[in-house]
């Protein structure tokens, strides 16, 4: 038996780093903080790799299935006789995979940031937050129960908040961080209620229980319904709401583009590779439950995923901020993953969607991190986010250019890069399940290729604007992660995912479906070609098209005005129509009533003062009147 208890260090090291850098960081030189953080993360990465190696290659399988191991599980809080919140480390295929993803990307970002963040005020703070984030994300990944996951889920949200708002003196960053937090928080409300509902029936938070036979049995047999849907479906949909918030699914996606206000390495780590896929991970975690107890919820997930991927891809085509393009691209890709989960069945071949989703999660993490880090390198060079202010950068940034190109090709799904393999599996899954969604995804594949190459050509080719400083290639500490991730983007596609990560943890064989693969590569090429025609050189074709589209373009450019709708709802309705009246009501009605009591008392006091007139005979009159009144009352009325 292989002991996984060392995995706890994967959590301890980053939190220790956080405390060290957070409390004492200011005492260190910035560079020392950076190096400390990076080394810590390096150790974490190695531990994760070692764990992955042991898990997939050394640990014996039981009945051919990968084991689910509770490396640690201590009771953190007793809630009731049956419900406890535990904290622990759960080892199973997806958690191990996620460990690898998170630690790798995090390490790369740590390393990269040494260069990127150099000279920034709050360098130590940045590293402290990065460590905190990494800790939270890893904790989320290895959660043994849904409540632990929720806990780290929240922590992840906060670290994201802190990192987006890293440039706290910039109002836009503050606003973005706030927005990110509140939107995800709103989604988390759903998650929480979902957890509460689910755990009420399953009497447990533990994944082993609730996704095990007992949990499935209980949830399947729930007869209670609410508004026509079974309680189980409600619970799982609400949980998905949490996932949708974190993963920025439509309509909870609005925070992600704004989150790009954070430093670019943060965007790479949190808003591209790791945190935003937490929603996907969550659904994958509870997949058996979804699959057996609430197939309706899965359908919803697949449509939400499909719609988001299309929606975001369309918007991505019109954006000029390169990070925003990447952000919408992320949305779109996560939509893919969600869709894949939504169309997946449980077990063996039917579970290809599940496998594909995880696969795509993995490859996407690599190439999207690469894209973001590359974008960071570009921004580092030209000090702008806007592609209009860029062009012809291939000469100045050779390494960035090359790695960026690889990433673009990967995301466009060209054979044999990793993106091709994972996207292909997703298309296969959709193809087998739902033709409508398949066509949507097929279209999105083309759009993806188009907008990525639009970005690529605008930045690296096209007309060169006037640069204030001559752009120069980033230092090695930044390009090494780029190169590493580029290699990963190229080769991770060859990993035998279906042998490792499947819905029922039993390996199965997949073969490439040429009926899907060839058209998908083809449409990718078409997308690239269009982008090439439009953006390779500076020309007026784009303007004509934009003019031709008219209002449609403006709508897309303004992201379908979803932000405005939200603003309307929050500012006008919640703030103005609820909160403000509540505040007014409180001051004037409730408090007014209390003050009114006092006022009436004072008024009464003033009104009756005349009785004490100083006139003896008035006093006597009251006296006699009182006596007679009492006498009458008690002689005639009193029984």
């Amino acid at each position: 038996m292989i002991n996984f208890s060392y995995t706890i260090w994967i959590l301890i090291i980053p939190i220790f780093m956080f405390l060290l850098l957070g409390l004492l960081g200011m005492k260190f030189k910035p560079i020392i903080s950076g190096v400390l953080g990076t080394i810590g993360l390096g150790v974490v990465m190695l531990l994760s790799y070692y764990a992955a190696y042991q898990y997939f290659f050394q640990l014996p399988r039981i009945d051919d299935a990968y084991q689910q191991i509770l490396a640690h599980n201590i009771t953190w809080l007793n809630l009731s006789a049956s419900l406890q919140i535990k904290m622990g480390v759960f080892i199973d295929p997806i958690s191990v995979m996620m460990l690898v993803v998170v630690s790798t990307v995090s390490f790369m970002v740590h390393l990269y940031s040494i260069g990127y963040m150099k000279g920034e005020k709050g360098f130590q703070r940045f590293y402290a937050f990065l460590s905190l984030f990494t800790f939270s994300m890893l904790g989320l990944v290895v959660a043994t129960n849904i409540f632990q996951m929720y806990i780290f889920w929240e922590l992840v949200g906060v670290s994201s908040f802190l990192l987006i708002g890293f440039y706290y003196e910039r109002p836009s960053a503050v606003a973005a961080s706030k927005k990110a937090f509140i939107v995800t928080r709103f989604a988390d409300l759903g998650f929480l209620v979902g957890i509460l509902l689910l755990s009420y029936y399953t009497k447990s938070f533990d994944f082993l229980n609730i996704t095990g036979p007992v949990g499935i049995e209980v949830t399947r047999n729930l007869t209670q319904t609410f508004l026509g849907m079974s309680v189980a479906t409600w619970a799982l949909l609400l949980i998905f709401m949490g996932g949708a918030g974190k993963s920025a699914m439509f309509p909870l996606h609005i925070w992600l583009p704004d989150a790009m206000e954070g430093p670019t390495p943060v965007s790479a780590l949190i808003h591209a590779a790791t945190m935003v896929v937490a929603g996907v991970y969550l659904v994958a975690r509870l997949f058996p439950l979804y699959s057996f107890a609430a197939p309706d919820a899965l359908t919803v997930i697949s449509y939400v995923g499909g719609f988001t991927s299309l929606f975001a891809a369309v918007i991505a085509c019109t954006q000029f901020d390169i990070k925003r393009v990447l952000a919408f691209s992320t949305l779109s890709q996560i939509g893919y993953m969600m869709l894949a989960l939504g169309v997946s069945g449980y077990g063996g071949e039917k579970g290809v969607g599940y496998m594909a989703s995880m696969f795509h999660l993995f490859t996407h993490a690599m190439f999207k991190a690469l894209l973001f880090l590359g974008a960071g390198s570009i921004i580092h060079a030209v000090h702008s986010n806007y592609m209009n202010e860029m062009g012809g950068l291939r000469k100045y940034l050779p390494i960035t250019h090359l790695t960026f190109l690889i990433a673009c090709l990967t995301i466009a799904g060209l054979f044999p890069l990793s993106g091709f393999w994972s996207k292909d599996e997703i298309l296969v899954a959709a193809y087998e399940h739902n033709m409508l969604l398949f066509w949507v995804e097929y279209l999105v594949a083309g759009l993806t290729a188009f907008y990525m190459f639009r970005l690529y050509f605008r930045v690296f080719w096209n007309k060169e604007p006037h640069y204030h400083h001559k752009p120069h290639e980033s230092p090695l500490v930044m390009t090494i992660p780029l190169m590493f991730l580029a290699v990963a983007s190229i080769f991770t596609g060859f990993l035998p995912f279906s042998k490792m990560i499947t819905s029922d943890r039993l390996p199965f064989e997949t073969e490439t479906n040429l009926m899907v693969a060839i058209p998908s590569v083809a449409i990718g090429l078409v997308g690239i070609l269009i982008a090439f025609l439009l953006y390779k050189k500076d020309n007026t074709r784009v303007e004509k098209i934009v003019k031709g589209l008219g209002g449609v373009y403006t709508t897309i450019y303004n992201k379908f005005y979803i932000d405005e709708v939200y603003m309307f709802v929050t500012k006008k309705i919640i703030f103005n129509l609820i909160s403000r009246p509540v505040a007014w009501f409180d001051r004037h009605v409730v408090d007014g009533f209390m003050n009114g009591i006092a006022g009436v008392t004072v008024l009464a006091s003033r009104k009756i003062k005349g009785a004490q007139s100083g006139q003896l005979q008035h006093y006597a009159f009251f006296f006699v009147l009182g006596a007679i009144a009492f006498a009458l009352i008690f002689i005639y009325l009193w029984q």
Binding site: K609, G610, Q612, S613, G614, Q615, L616, Q617, A620, F621, V624
Partner: protein, 106 residues
């Protein structure tokens, strides 16, 4: 029961009338001395009551009569103090009209 040819009710009517006349006088007369006299009316109505009750209803002992005697005595004491105070008032206010004495109010 009719003793001395006058029914008890007769006394009671008189005494009650005196009582309320006294009260009326106290309430409306403005002169302090007159008010004091009204008080005497009230006290005397009480005396009539006591004495009448005693001799008509409970002649076996003398409680009512004694009470009346004591009341008379106390009324005298009261009147003397009151008149002293009225003199004092006259010194201070140069008036013994009750309406003028309202320095303290509200």
């Amino acid at each position: 029961m009719e003793r001395y040819g006058i029914p008890l009710e007769g006394f009671l009517v008189i005494s009650t009338a005196m009582f309320f006349i006294g009260i009326y006088g106290f309430l409306v007369r403005k002169n302090l001395i007159t008010m004091l006299m009204s008080i005497e009316l009230i006290l005397n109505s009480v005396n009539i009551n006591f004495v009448a009750f005693n001799s008509y209803l409970f002649p076996e002992n003398m409680q009512g009569n004694f009470f009346a005697l004591i009341v008379v005595a106390i009324a005298a004491a009261e009147a003397s103090v009151a008149i002293a105070l009225i003199i004092n008032i006259y010194r201070r206010f140069s008036s013994i009209e009750v309406e003028d004495i309202d320095e303290m109010k509200y």
